[in-house]
Amino acid sequence: MKIVGVSACTVGIAHTYLAQQKMEDAAKKLGDEIKIETQGTIGIENKLSANDIKEADIVILAIDVKISGEERFENKKKVKVSTETAIKSPNKLIAKLHEIAGKQILNGKARG
């Protein structure tokens, strides 16, 4: 399935990017497509386009602070967690996203 999300921590230096990496790896392991926008001290990177959001099956917000543009996800199924949760249990988190989106895990074989 397609996952989009945002990651943002309090200082915006380390945990934001760690969470991004962990979630990307966990999702790819399951054959998912994933794009995580980071909102850190350097500003917004890997910005989600309107189309990215439109096509996504689910939105994951791994955030410890208020983010800019949260309203973009208003009509989407979404899950909000802390960056700590995303770093600590990325596999469990992605499995949870599947459950909520109602999408079977493909186990990395078939994509899209």
Partner: protein, 153 residues
């Protein structure tokens, strides 16, 4: 991925291996001293204070024996990374039940405009630390070369 080798960006002079330390404070202080000696920061005390301010906001131990403390302060002249591989694991607040055997300390200036390029590099380091292969290599690093190589994997 970016062709720039992260290992080549690391400063050999701010990496310590086989550090004998018993407390979190010792490690942070040792690494801050390295930053000071290599002209990254103006004041060890002010920088350590900034690191502890961040520590107060939540665990910087990211699991598997790795901690990533960081300090943002006006005493920072240039951003960088200092790394300590400890002789033995010490107590450190973390997301799992481990302490810290590998400590990666970031220093960041308050002038985020001028530091933008550095911050981007630091974000790439943070991402690397999300990879278990990198963590394994770091935990087993005996020399500065091992540490640098770990980031190039």
């Amino acid at each position: 991925m970016s062709p720039t080798s992260l290992g080549s960006i690391l400063d050999r002079k701010t990496i310590i291996t086989d550090l004998k330390a018993d407390t979190k404070y010792d490690v942070i202080k040792e690494l801050a001293k390295k930053f000071f000696e290599q002209n990254y920061i103006d004041s060890i005390d002010e920088f350590v204070e900034a690191v502890y301010e961040r520590e107060g906001e939540g665990a910087t131990g990211i699991g598997n024996g790795v901690a990533i403390p960081h300090g943002k302060s006006t005493t920072v002249k240039r951003s960088g990374v200092a790394i300590a591989i400890l002789e033995h694991e010490i107590k450190w607040e973390s997301l799992d039940d481990t302490g810290a055997k590998v400590v990666v300390l970031f220093d960041v200036g308050n002038d985020s405009e001028g530091a933008k390029k550095h911050l981007h590099t630091l974000s790439l380091f943070a991402r690397k630390l999300g990879k278990s292969e990198v963590i394994d290599s770091l935990l087993n690093s005996k020399t500065v070369d091992d540490v640098i190589k770990a980031f190039d994997e």
